[in-house]
Symmetry: C2
Subunit: 403 residues, 2 copies
């Protein structure tokens, strides 16, 4: 159920003292091949962390043999010294694993604006490498790695998607190939990407261009459609490593489908564990003029604090939905405000831009999941963006996080 | 200190039973002339309330003799019936005041998606008109009107700006002219405009084009720079009425200056009374390539829930500031992330994109007002956007408002 589900991967997660709690905080994921294909999608934030700058360069040749990840510090806004720390980390991993630094990707997560305790981190790399070499310790190495990247996450997020090979393409007796993955992210959770770290692995035989295309397609419709709190991070990284160890060649469509399924599962797990949330909210826009228009309208709703606070109060206050819809410019999403329908948990509370069924018919208290559907009557495209409610616990966690 | 400070205006505010609390909820502001100049700036939300549609049309000729305002219901998303309610209200005011319905502007505020109790509202208009005619009751009519437009506001917001006429332009012995005003707004408080109702009055002699130009210039740099919670309303309305009763002719610059001063005061009062807030935060961007760039960067910061929650926790978490700055596209605001300086309450916590003075030097607990300055080192333009912190009380008020 994790990055080690696909053949050809080892992982480890250890406690190196970066977290004051003593919990695991350094992880390694190693691709033993035969392929060393890699792709990454990185934050579009113009203020990006040193490991993002490093990984962007290191993955540009479509190859990587290892990923080192740490929690306990984002290594963002740390200047040239911070970049040197990342460089040093990659070189140390390369030394320990007998690879080259340019084939080591780096991810960090935690507080912005604080240097990492480098000696502790390097000692953690040594401990993780030792665990990789220990057959007993590596039994649940994938699970340990998923634990090591958690920050305010309350549970680790992992996934595996196993595909059986149809007779027509099974040439060498391999019956299955798979995609595995782990992710972290509970705050600063918004598109472009959702604020998170994620490592996906596959034992399929694919080239770098296919891996890159599949990963970008998958993130666009999964992680990019999570908008828990509207805040974009400096460290967002989603990595896909392909070992080819299954011997199964797959098409771009097959890989995209499996990576999307794994990413959708992880994205849903992120929403379910978002900081302080009491509801997971799916905002679906239907009959839009384009998919981009549907996403823009859904995103406007998922970013409304008033809407999110109402959901926390189990209040189907649809006025806050339509007032958010109305903020989207006409050139982005054409629609007629007098045609808008809004349904909350299957009750059409707004019909043709006016009052529909009584809002009292909506039950928000029964389930954690809330379904909002907005019908624009302007085309045939649709999209769903996930968000959370705005709660006392969100305010509490985020007013106390760095202190 | 209110809409009746300038000569030529009467006002009243009465309790008509629209609010369940029994507080004042219907207001009238009447311009007795000799001029009946009027201008309005209205919400840009594509989902706009019936009174906004009415007022946009009624003010298009640059003239109005009265404004009727109610709290206790926004009359938004109420369909053709809601527009008929607004029309009926304007006609009733016209009958009572012996004017024409097309010279009556209408403003409503309260819950979206609920019809107004029209008979109560019309009876309120009668009572307000009676109070206008009563010399005793009208002594504090402006204050009563300011009370009647409150929703979750805890205090009324009023202002007056009095200008002495310099010798060169004093031709008829009038020594002063003035601008008065009142406003409401505590939630759904964001630009385009800030979610609010505001009536400004002046006894200066101006034509409709001058009034319109002065009002648009004033709102652009005051109400449009308040972003308490990022949520744009369906009912935002700012109205300027000019009676000419002072006999003083003023230039566009003079009027703009006074209306801007009055609007800035009201905007600051709105921020100070925003729902549940414990801090008022001025985010100033300096050395931007343009004023629009400065506003875009400031707005990105004022819309970050993580930043706002940190301020509530008296935590100068500057990583949340720079990560919000980094979300602004380069074509909107060019800057080099490695040159960014950030100062919080005069302590430069981020210098050249990296770590500056220790964050422990920043004291956020001492004062309600917080000053953030972001230096882009990309030009010479600057702008300030005001916001509030994200608090438990904000969540509480907005999760319970409509229930």
């Amino acid at each position: 159920m994790t990055v080690t589900t696909p053949q050809g991967f080892r992982a480890a997660g250890v406690a190196a003292g970066l977290k004051s709690t003593g919990a695991r905080d350094v992880a390694l994921v190693v691709n033993d091949g035969p392929l060393d294909v890699a792709a990454a999608v990185l934050t579009t934030n113009r203020v990006f962390a040193a490991p993002v700058a490093w990984t962007r360069q290191a993955v540009s040749d479509g190859r990587a043999t290892a990923v080192v990840l740490n929690s306990g510090g984002a290594n963002a806004c740390t200047g040239p010294e911070g970049f040197a720390d990342t460089h040093r980390t990659a070189e140390h991993v390369a030394d320990v694993l007998s690879t080259s630094a340019g084939d080591v990707l780096v991810c960090s997560t935690g507080l912005i604006g604080v240097r990492l305790p480098l000696e502790k981190l390097l000692a953690g790399v040594d401990a993780a490498a030792a665990a990789l070499a220990d057959p007993v310790a590596t039994v649940d190495g994938g699970g340990d790695a998923a634990l090591a990247i958690m920050t305010t996450d309350t549970v680790p997020k992992t996934v595996s998607v196993v595909r059986e090979v149809s007779d027509a393409t099974a040439t060498d007796g391999a019956a299955t190939w798979s995609v595995g993955g782990m992710a972290k992210g509970a705050g600063m959770l918004a598109p472009g990407l959702a604020t998170m770290l994620c490592v996906l692995t596959t034992d399929a035989v694919v080239d770098a261009a296919t891996a890159d295309a599949a990963l970008r397609a998958a993130t666009r419709t999964t992680f990019d459609r999570v908008d828990s709190d509207g805040c974009m991070s400096t460290n967002d990284t989603v990595i896909l490593l392909a070992s080819g160890a299954s011997g199964v060649e797959v098409t771009l469509d097959e890989l995209t489908d499996a990576v999307t399924e794994a990413s959708a599962s992880l994205a849903r797990q992120l929403v379910a564990d978002a900081e302080g949330a009491s509801h997971d909210v799916a905002v679906t826009v239907v009959n839009a003029s384009s998919e981009d228009a549907a996403v823009a309208v859904a995103r406007a709703v998922t970013r409304s604090n008033l809407f999110k606070a109402a959901i926390f109060g189990n209040d189907p206050n649809w006025g806050r939905i339509v007032s958010a819809v109305g903020t989207v410019p006409e050139d982005v999403a054409p629609f007629d405000a007098l045609l808008l329908d809004v349904t909350v948990n299957d009750v059409q509370v707004c019909r043709a831009g006016g009052v529909g069924e009584p809002r009292e018919l909506v039950d928000l208290a029964a389930e954690r999941e809330v379904r909002v559907e907005i019908d624009l009557h302007a085309g045939s495209a649709s999209a769903t963006v996930w968000t959370n409610d705005l709660t006392h616990d969100y305010v509490h966690e985020n007013s106390a996080y760095s202190s």
